[in-house]
Subunit: 313 residues, 2 copies
């Protein structure tokens, strides 16, 4: 086994503490060597810096960084890290725009560093078994239902409603990251309706129609107004019956009612992401699939906007 | 010289008659062998078909097609043509969504046919000389002003105001196709304001801020409400003074006041496009640069929408 990858985590918010630090601690491929944040303080007495420039000036030996900052400031930090030759893990979405992701891909190619655009939902337990099972099937249609209560899951997140905040596409892009992974053919948007509260910039609900290159219809229903039971479900109708992926990709049920177990070694979304990041670095490659973000941009480009009642939290 | 490329033109609207047919007639690399259109009739007594399926059934020998249909139906026709192994010329924009263009690129790779996403403004006379001159310069900023009277230039074009119709980005994408060609570094959107008439889906005006990867600011001002003098201008400030590209790319003025002439053999936008299409086919490659469309999608994704007064033609 190679020496551990010396990693700094940048942007010490909730996702860094809840998901990144435990996954890194459990992964022998990585050694956490520093944290960087505008707020807060050191983690586990490790070196702590207010920004990436201070980390660079310190001369600390770093191989890679994980960026958990908001998308608005992520590109500049990623570009700075890549210019150091550091490998970069981008939280989702990989950018505020598609064009900025292209610039990061070019920067990674120029320096030989690895760039990893992470999609955590792709590492939910049911996703890879679903992909493998669907690979051989005739697919007749797919339906995505992603309905959650924004007041429960995104309390006080004013940024989500601003221009560029994605609205219901903030969770919806997770669904798109799964569907683009499990379906065997690429697909494209043909129709979209976006419900936008009259006092907000971003949609509170979206209904999307896609077709794949064989003409198969894929429908998505994203809604932030769901009270009561919450839904993060994907159903794929096939010649063998329906495949059901529930709980955001965690629970796969095949048409015969069986629930396949995940492959050995995959123990959750963030451990899966870090295993992939290590593999990408060891292979000297990058892994940047912009397909989920491209579908969101297409939805904003093509979507018909309906003004709906104001959203007040 | 190789045998002429046997070409069918599909979608016989105004752009086909005004621009494509004269450019094809003047280019010895191409031989027009058929036209295809839901409306109208034959051109010059050549075979005429109501749709691409009828063209295929006829068994007529065709090497390539030029698609001048509206973007909404273009992908299906392009996919059908590529499946025949025919080379495909796409009018701008290359698709109604970014994802569908990706599917066409994959189809072209699979069949070995050439796919050409055309951007006619890139073949305006001043564009290549501007690109060459800027390649060696320090660039300090760039300003794009694209202001035209929609009532003069787009009379009765209701589709331009519908969802997916692009609004002021229909001409604005021409500006973006030039700027992405002449500037030496890629750039990305950082801020966008879109003015949308309260009775329409698409913006009537847009103000965009970009940065290139060296931090250079690029500003764009698109407006459909321009009365009096019309503006299709790009000014690039450099260490040698301002480069000015006016008249939609046709007129280049260097800081010393000189007006370079175009290279030999380039006699206008559509002749330039067809020369490029022939070169791409002869080389067995494709030429699909989605950058202008990607910037438009980014503007819809990131843009702050301001409702403005209704537009009544």
């Amino acid at each position: 086994m190679s020496a551990p990858i010396r990693l700094a985590v940048i942007g010490m918010g909730k996702i860094a503490h809840d998901q990144h630090l435990p996954a890194i601690a459990a992964d022998p491929d990585f050694q956490l060597v520093a944290t960087v944040s505008r707020h807060g303080g050191p983690v586990d007495d490790l070196p702590f810096f207010p920004n990436i420039e201070a980390l660079i000036e310190s001369g600390l030996a770093v191989d890679a960084v994980a960026l958990c900052t908001p998308p608005q400031v992520r590109r500049a930090i990623a570009a700075t890290a890549l210019a150091q030759g550091w490998h970069v893990f981008l939280e989702k979405p990989p950018g505020a725009t598609l064009a900025e992701v292209v610039t990061l891909e070019e920067a990674a190619r120029a320096t030989g560093a690895s760039l990893f655009a992470s999609w955590h939902s792709r590492y939910a337990k049911g996703v890879e078994p679903a992909r493998a099972w669907l690979a051989d099937r005739r697919i007749d249609s797919a339906t995505v239902t992603w309905r959650e209560d924004v007041r429960v899951w995104h309390p006080g997140q004013e940024w989500i409603w601003a221009a560029g905040g994605f609205g219901v596409f903030d969770p919806g892009i997770n669904a798109l990251s799964i569907v683009t992974r499990i379906l065997p053919r690429p697909f494209f948007l043909t129709e979209a309706a976006l419900d936008v509260p009259s006092n907000r910039q971003a949609p509170i609900a979206a209904r999307l129609q896609f077709r794949d290159t064989a003409g198969v219809a894929i429908a998505a229903d994203f809604d932030f107004r769901q009270e009561g039971p919450q839904h993060w479900d994907i159903v794929v109708e096939t010649d063998r019956g329906p495949l059901r992926l529930a709980d955001g990709g965690a629970t796969l049920t095949l048409p015969d009612g069986s629930v396949p177990t995940a492959a050995e070694g995959l123990h959750g979304e963030y451990p899966g992401l870090y295993a992939r990041f290590a593999a990408v670095i060891r292979a000297g490659t990058s892994d940047v699939d912009v397909a989920p973000l491209r579908h969101v941009a297409d939805a904003f480009l093509l979507g018909h906007r309906n003004l709906v009642e104001p959203f007040v939290e």
